[in-house]
Amino acid sequence: MSTEPVSPCAIELVGVTKRFGKQVAVQDLTLRIPAGRTLGLIGPNGAGKTTAIKMLMGLLPMTAGRARVLGIDPAVKPVLLKRAVGYVPEMHFIYRAMRAAEVIGFCRTFYPTWNNPLCAELAGRFEIDLHKKVKHLSKGSLAKLALVLALAHEPEVLILDEPMTGLDPLAREEFLEGVVHGLCDRSRTVLFSSHMLSDVQRMADTIAIIHQGRLLVSCLTDDLLKTTKRIRAVVRDGCTPDQPPEGTIWQRFERREWLLTVRPFSPATLEYLRGTYPVENVEVQDLGLEDVFKDYIRGQKVQA
């Protein structure tokens, strides 16, 4: 696990734990996002992503630990924090009986930094019918309206919690373009949680994988992909490898084929394999983010 504090942290979770009765949703989570970075928070369903984000937003009290966004404690100054953060949740429960324009007019009053021209530009770009009632908007338009509300007050931090769940590919693309536009517009810190790994890979410069409330890895996306390799080794008949090399995330052994995902990979890993086991053939493969993610989760499941 590596974190690179290159600049002051815009988002900081230190030893955060959340328990619901006996069930632990988030366990000792420490995550730091430097200002200007885009972090993709990925994990399977129930991993604790939304819980962590809600604690960060002050929408859920922590059992232990501390959280800061731009140095603001969400439990102490929730109003100040919400003014500085643009938040798009997974589900959009915007007042259904209001028209989109009314929702915008209502929200505008709470943000001193609200930018009307930007709001109009975003609404126009997303082709949101502002005269329609929220209950008549499509799921895609609703997500885009939520993004407009999150971006129009020009927040320093943008938190997106699986905002594209259930959107069709076109709506997803338009939504992503909106986020990218929002990012390009000014240097923002973004925490982006999603199941769509291709979207995460496209957006995020840093990746954090979370499983069962625990952080498995957090590092630069390029670094993660560069240092994580899949090794396919074929060993001689009768050999059963029992000591995987250091840094093995996941492994599978079937007949003579031994598959290993290792991070950090180095030539020493191959030397160890060749030196320890009667290896006939070894191949090293690059992995995409999806495979890396799957192997981290599979590895945890095997360990469990």
């Binding site: 937003m57 009290p61 003014r83 429960f93 915007i94 259904r96 009986a97 209502f106 709470f110």
Partner: protein
């Protein structure tokens, strides 16, 4: 604050409109039935008495209205989950609560005040009122008004508390409406237990303790509901 008031008006619009209809209904039905009775049988209720009756009917209906308003005030947004959206906005809890209270209590008080003006000020001065009828109406006002007022206060207070605790406006409203009856039943049971040791008749005993306990419980519920809402982390 203006935006919050507007939002609370929007959220409670249906209940507020229903309360307005309930408030006005007796004032439409009463005169119509009086005129119909006059055309059919040639007899009618004098306008002063009719207006007083309409005022009391309107007040009785407004007990339902305040329970609905109290029950919907907080739980209504939880039920459709718009409370989650509201929770993301940078709004002080105290401001949000004040706005809800202003809208629902304001609406209830407005209905109440108009009816009070009708019953106490307009009705006694409409048309000819014989001294006997004037006495009867004054007695009616004296006997009925405190009961309705206390019942409305208790229904609202309980509904408000339940609304701050629950996510179902219908359950909060139902509990608000049931609370005066429950208090009445409890007092009746207590009287049954202490009947031998008290010089009071049942009605006197219940009326006395109802007059003390209903406003006390209403205030307690209102304050507890407010404190719980301020401390609760939504949603």
């Amino acid at each position: 604050m203006k935006a919050l008031l507007w939002k609370d008006w929007r959220v409670n619009r249906v209940v507020l409109l229903a309360a307005a209809v309930g408030f006005l209904l007796p004032y439409f039905v009463g005169p119509f039935s009086n005129l119909a009775s006059y055309w059919r049988d040639g007899c009618y209720v004098v306008w002063s008495e009719l207006l007083t009756d309409c005022g009391f009917f309107s007040l009785a209906i407004s007990v339902l209205a305040v329970a609905f308003l109290g029950g919907n005030a907080i739980a209504g947004e939880r039920a459709d989950r718009s409370a989650e959206f509201f929770a993301y906005l940078p709004v002080q809890r105290a401001q949000s609560m004040a706005s809800r209270l202003i809208v629902v209590v304001g609406a209830g008080l407005l209905v109440w005040l108009i009816n009070l003006v009708v019953v106490y000020w307009v009705a006694p001065h409409v048309g000819y009122v014989s001294p006997t009828l004037a006495q009867q109406l004054a007695a009616l006002r004296h006997q009925t008004m405190p009961g309705i007022t206390l019942t409305a206060a208790l229904a609202f207070g309980t509904a408000w508390l339940c609304s701050s605790l629950l996510s179902s406006p219908s359950i909060a409203t139902a509990l608000g409406l049931v609370s005066p009856a429950l208090l009445f039943m409890v007092l009746a049971i207590i009287w049954d237990i202490v009947r031998g040791s008290t010089p009071w008749y049942e009605a006197e005993f219940i009326a006395f303790w109802y007059a003390i306990l209903a406003p006390a419980l209403a205030c307690l519920c209102l304050v507890t509901g407010c404190v719980h809402y301020l401390r609760r982390v939504e949603p």
